[in-house]
Symmetry: C2
């Protein structure tokens, strides 16, 4: 993880108290950094505002889709009993309601946007898990595994349509503009998944291709989350575009951290297996960067991964074998490159915030959320 490298590189993240880490890179806005921001409270606010509306939206689905969706969101278990599932970090709802405040509107103005973005995000999870054959999500069996492929397709479809419904029933010009941006993000999500699938069948993927795919799969919807509240609050296109720029690069920073956690993350924190992305042969940023780096370790890694791709025994590889691959990726520079890429994208995101006017308090909260996203451990 990023914080493990703090000794080696003073520009990177230092370990703070209580196991948290903060970036030591110069902040985009020093004034903003000086305002104390309670990120936990900010995330909690997004969740508190969005969840009841999200649940009411999902309740509109006809049976059995309402039940299947409630299972997916972690509100009930496979037997239909109430559950208190892990709803995730809820970064997107926090950003969506915060973005409404850019226009001096109340955070509540962003709620339909927060809900719509969550619905689209979960549409993509339902379909991607099925396409990828992933059996676990948030420590539970995935929907297609429990309720079958047809329900995963149907409920995913329904959530995508519901997202548009929630926005368009507002009946305002702003809602139309918000829906258009959400549709653009949805199309990007689908493009990203198409790229992800096609890359699986290729020996080599360039760093540029990997970044493009991650921009589509992660950047586009986070961009939309960061602008949708502002759009609903009446922001002009320049403001919305700039907030999207912040969100897009934040998404790329998030994904770079995710790719680091996918190889070197602590299984207890991430809820995934050790060397998770290596086991799935994922061509994530550390891998493609290591393969593109050249040099002895890079070439050796290329030979090993090419052999792995043909191996019929791959699933039975030992911990040591995956550890050896991870060590080669690190030796070739893939880990360092990805950590630096996370910092670079984080900087671009923060710089974007300085291009537009917004209340200082709101700016400080966007900065704090960006810091949170790149130092998270899961």
């Amino acid at each position: 993880m990023l914080d493990e490298r703090s000794e080696a590189d003073p520009r990177t993240f230092r370990t703070a108290t209580r196991g948290e880490t903060v970036p030591t890179v110069p902040p985009a806005s020093t004034a903003a950094r000086e305002t104390a921001v309670d990120v936990t409270a900010l995330l909690e606010r997004g969740r508190t505002l969005a969840t009841p509306v999200l649940r009411a939206a999902v309740d509109r689905l006809a049976p059995p889709m309402d039940t299947v969706a409630a299972y997916h969101f972690g509100w009930i278990d496979a037997e239909g009993n109430p559950a208190d599932g892990d709803g995730g970090k809820a970064v997107r709802p926090a950003l969506a309601v915060l973005s409404a405040e850019v226009t001096e509107a109340a955070p509540e103005v962003g709620i339909p946007g927060a809900v719509a973005v969550e619905l689209v995000h979960n549409f993509s999870l339902l379909h991607d898990d099925l396409m990828d054959g992933d059996e676990q999500r948030r420590h539970r069996d995935t929907v297609w595994k429990v309720h079958g492929p047809a329900q995963a397709i149907l409920v995913g479809d329904a959530l995508m349509a519901l997202a548009n419904e929630i926005l368009l029933e507002l009946g305002t010009v702003e809602a139309g503009r918000a829906t258009r941006r959400l549709t653009t993000a949805t199309r990007a999500l689908i493009d990203g998944q198409a790229q992800d699938i096609s890359y699986e069948h290729r020996d080599r993927v360039s760093v540029a291709e990997c970044l493009e795919m991650e921009g589509n799969k992660t950047g586009a919807l986070l961009a939309c989350a960061c602008s949708i509240g502002a759009v609903l609050g009446g922001a002009d296109d320049h403001t919305a575009d700039t907030l999207e720029k912040y969100g897009y690069h934040l998404g790329l920073a998030f994904q770079a951290v995710d790719d680091l956690l996918g190889i070197w993350g602590d299984p207890v924190a991430t809820g995934k297996q050790t060397w998770s992305d290596l086991r799935q042969r994922k061509k994530s940023l550390p891998v493609v960067a290591a393969l593109a780096a050249g040099g002895q370790a890079s070439e050796r890694l290329g030979e090993i991964l090419a052999a792995d791709a043909k191996s019929s025994d791959f699933e039975n590889f030992s911990e040591e074998e995956f550890a050896a691959r991870a060590a080669l990726i690190e030796e070739a520079g893939g880990r360092d490159w990805t950590a630096e890429e996370a910092r670079r994208q984080h900087r671009i995101a923060l710089d974007a915030l300085d291009e537009i006017r917004m209340p200082d308090r709101v700016r400080a909260q966007f900065v704090a959320l960006a810091d949170f996203v790149v130092v998270r451990k899961r």
Copy 2:
């Protein structure tokens, strides 16, 4: 087919010249019926206006989704060579551009609506074929069969999103209203498919449940096709709602005819197997009406279908065995009931047209398309 019953019931359809049939029920608007309408030209106009825009929209998809979609639409074959596929009857595009003329707008105003409706229709075909395991559509292998389940899911998703994109990029208030109506129709489509799937696992489905499912699967999107051009042309809600009423009941009439063709249709005309819906154990209108009718034939049919549901040899049944089931459905009154239901829905559709103002020529064309839909043979 409906026209085969013309001798028995004078209120039903008489065979016209050139093998076409027209209903002899009193028309909603006698004036409208007296205007000669060339339905073939009307369908051709819809196709000519919508197809280039539809193709340009599909070209926006990232590879390989553009190719997969082009295969689905019949524009290329499985090897990627240009094909001149059966694009279907194109009733929806014809209705969408016609509906623009209700508002005295040019038919071209309805084009984005026609394209969006076609995109949603084809999204549902892609996903439904996969969920239902259907291997053939329009005389060709289905997308999931040729390109795999993941591509069927992805391209379906992309078409749904693209439909909204095409409308919302118009950037008008009317486009926002049109997208909202399209979203409502999309949700109904998904509800209908969910009902269809759940009914498969049940012994009995009521006539009301079957009609509700068919209203969702067929009525809602046809309703949207009939109003979307008018909405884009600035029609008020009452006009749009009434056009939807026309389209919804026309959809139910269409589906009743489809259910008749699914059992008694000529395989050469329909491109399906003989007794197609019986082979698929489909609980279509003639079946549920026959089961609900009571009496000796109805009870005997119930016993036979219950035994069929448990039979492991069902797929090897002979022509005669299916013919015997069809005869029982007819004897119990399921065929007559469904033919009368088609006429009833056709009448409701035509009556709706009289509730709103529109140019006489446009009204006559709506009437002619409604007549065409209920007398078609495929």
